[in-house]
């Protein structure tokens, strides 16, 4: 009994130690994985439309091409929208601060449409998803650094009703 309790404690200690080291490597990893190329891939600033359904996708500088991660997020959104046929959404497109205002308005619109098009290929009808570009007017991160910019280059799917 005593022995097994001690054994348990040792196991627990070992387990905790393992957890800690896992955490340590994970934090290191997390910093690496927040920007891939120049696309944000972390979860900071990400909110959820529903349980397990992230509300936003991120883009590379001057790009509106969807990454693998973005497509996965949008497939989850499409699946959730198919299950909730009464929900309509607005796709809000954004750009970072490193571009002229007018071009960024157009770029935000292009990004939101890239996301909308993908939702449509997964069975969401066009009249359930409208598009609104904010250009660089509504950053989520006010920083002037690559990480902040990568968080701001985004399309956010927002419930409209």
């Amino acid at each position: 009994m005593n022995f097994s309790k001690n054994y348990k404690n040792i196991l627990l200690a070992l387990f905790l130690g393992f957890l800690l080291s896992a955490c340590a490597t994970q934090t290191v990893k997390k910093v690496d994985s927040q920007i891939q190329g120049d696309v944000y891939t972390g979860t900071d600033t990400v909110e959820y439309l529903a349980d397990g359904v992230p509300d936003r996708v991120f883009f590379a500088t001057n790009e509106s091409v969807l990454t693998t991660a973005s497509r996965e997020t949008l497939r989850k959104q499409a699946a959730w929208l198919r299950k909730n046929p009464d929900v309509t959404v607005v796709l809000e497109g954004h750009a970072d601060e490193r571009g002229t205002r007018e071009y960024n308005l157009a770029l935000g619109e292009r990004r939101a449409n890239a996301a909308k098009d993908y939702l449509m290929t997964y069975g969401i009808s066009s009249d359930r998803a409208s598009v609104l570009s904010y250009g660089k007017e509504r950053p989520v991160d006010s920083g002037s650094n690559p990480l902040a910019w990568s968080k701001n280059r985004r399309s956010v799917t927002v419930k409209a009703n």
Partner: protein, 449 residues
């Protein structure tokens, strides 16, 4: 030797003020010219008139205040050096009748401005004279009447007349700037349309800040303004009459319209319309409401700007893969890329003189305001910074106003947006005073001629 050249130059200037080879033209190639010393005497007035005007306007000495407006304008132009009034030997009223030129030459003034203010029948009557100190001659004499509350404009009109007489080019002082006033954190900026005199006075706010507003631009022929508003979360181009406050949506588009500007005759609005991820350029005739599509290309086409003769349009497109500047005929034909330097190019704005296009350039993480000829040759970068864009020309094509944003620190603090102006020469860069943070400036045409 150097002084001799300067002296000769000034004599030349005074003898041939209307020749195109005036001060300004030389300034463009030489860049930095020592500013002309000018004495602006206080405008004289009778004690009775001064008291009456003090009651009316709450200003102690209106003649002095008007002379300060003139001094400030001339100084900010970078072409003149107004001398300190403490050194003046002659009283304003006597100087206005007959200046003792030796006294003014003694303090090294080369030009002298004198004047007189009367208050008659509820009207302000102002006369002024411009004197050539070295030649001992009157160069210009003018008088005008106006309502007292326009008294600051009197100072601006005098500045314009003096500027024109001494440089051979129209001035830009009796003008206004429309811009976007900004407040609040960067992530939730509150933006309002604001208008002020070119020197930062008489600020008025035209919207309340309930919705996002961007990119206001003056009609070059009247006091109408076009801008982008997010009213009801529908970003659309609006037309606003700043005298009456009446406004309306421009056209009936099923999506975002943006980047509006007037045609040089003020009869059309040119803008972008975004649909399905593609932005093209359209015009709407304000008289018959006819909408015309000008570009049709699967790329972002935006920031259109007409040439002053209305025959061409400069615009921004990423059809080559990246943001570049293009020029086409106003019907959309003969599209030609003109920017070929390193980096990205945006916001082309055609000079009111017609010979240059101002632009914003992004290269290696820096933003530049520059100018190039309309065929893209002769690119000249005027100023470099962390972030700046959206140049707008003074009506005489001598000065550019634009906005500049600061980099935030590691905590995301310290953001600001301010208006700046710079000479076409790349000299005389100045912060333009605004009551709040500011962006997207647009310069009006001259209010009077």
């Amino acid at each position: 030797m150097k002084n001799k050249i300067k002296l000769l130059f000034v004599i030349f200037l005074i003898l041939f003020p209307f020749k195109s080879l005036a001060l300004i033209e030389v300034d463009i190639t030489r860049g930095n010219l020592s500013p002309l010393p000018v004495a602006v005497s206080s405008l004289s007035s009778s004690e009775n008139d001064r008291e009456a005007l003090q009651k009316e306007l709450d200003i102690k000495d209106i003649g002095l205040e008007i002379s300060k407006i003139v001094e400030n304008n001339l100084k900010k132009s970078g072409l003149f050096n107004p001398l300190n009034k403490d050194a003046f030997l002659q009283k304003p009223d006597i100087a206005h009748l007959k200046p003792r030129f030796e006294d003014w030459a003694l303090i090294k003034a080369q030009a002298l401005i004198t004047g007189k203010v009367n208050f008659q029948d509820e009207k302000l009557r102002v006369e002024f004279r411009l004197w050539d100190v070295l030649a001992g001659k009157e160069m210009l004499a003018l008088a005008f009447t106006t309502v007292p509350k326009n008294w600051r404009r009197v100072g601006h009109i005098i500045s314009d007349k003096v500027y024109k007489r001494l440089t051979g080019e129209k001035g830009y002082f009796d003008t206004r700037i429309i811009y976007v006033s900004e407040k609040g954190p960067k992530t939730q900026r509150i933006k309002k349309l604001a208008i002020m005199d070119q020197d930062g006075f008489n600020t008025k706010y035209l919207t309340l800040g309930n919705e996002l507003v961007l990119t206001p631009r003056f009609n070059p022929t009247n006091q109408m303004v076009t801008y982008l508003s997010y009213f009801k979360n529908l970003p659309r181009v609006y037309l606003l009459d700043i005298e009456t406050g009446m406004q309306e949506v421009v056209g009936d588009f099923p999506g975002m319209t943006f980047a509006p500007r007037f045609s040089p005759d003020g009869k059309k609005i040119i803008m972008s319309f975004a649909m399905d991820g593609n932005s093209d350029i359209y015009t709407m005739d304000l008289e018959n409401r006819i909408v015309e599509r000008i570009t049709n290309y699967p790329s972002i086409d935006t920031s259109p700007s007409y040439s002053p003769d209305g025959k061409y349009i400069a615009f921004n497109s990423d059809r080559s893969g990246y943001q570049q500047i293009y020029v086409m005929k106003s019907d959309g034909s003969k599209v030609k890329r003109i920017s070929f330097g390193k980096g990205l190019y945006g916001t082309p704005v055609w000079s009111p003189r017609g010979d240059l296009i101002a632009f914003t350039k992004l290269h290696k993480g820096k933003f530049y305001i520059g100018v190039m000829r309309t065929n893209g040759k002769g690119e000249r970068l005027l100023t470099e910074n962390y972030y700046q864009e959206a140049p707008s020309w003074s009506p005489n094509g001598r000065v550019l106003i634009f906005y500049r944003e600061t980099k935030t620190n590691s905590k995301g603090e310290g953001f600001s947006a301010k208006l700046w102006s710079i000479d076409l020469t790349g000299y005389n860069e100045r912060l333009v005073d605004t009551e709040t943070d500011a962006s997207d400036p647009s310069w009006s045409s001259l209010l009077s001629n």
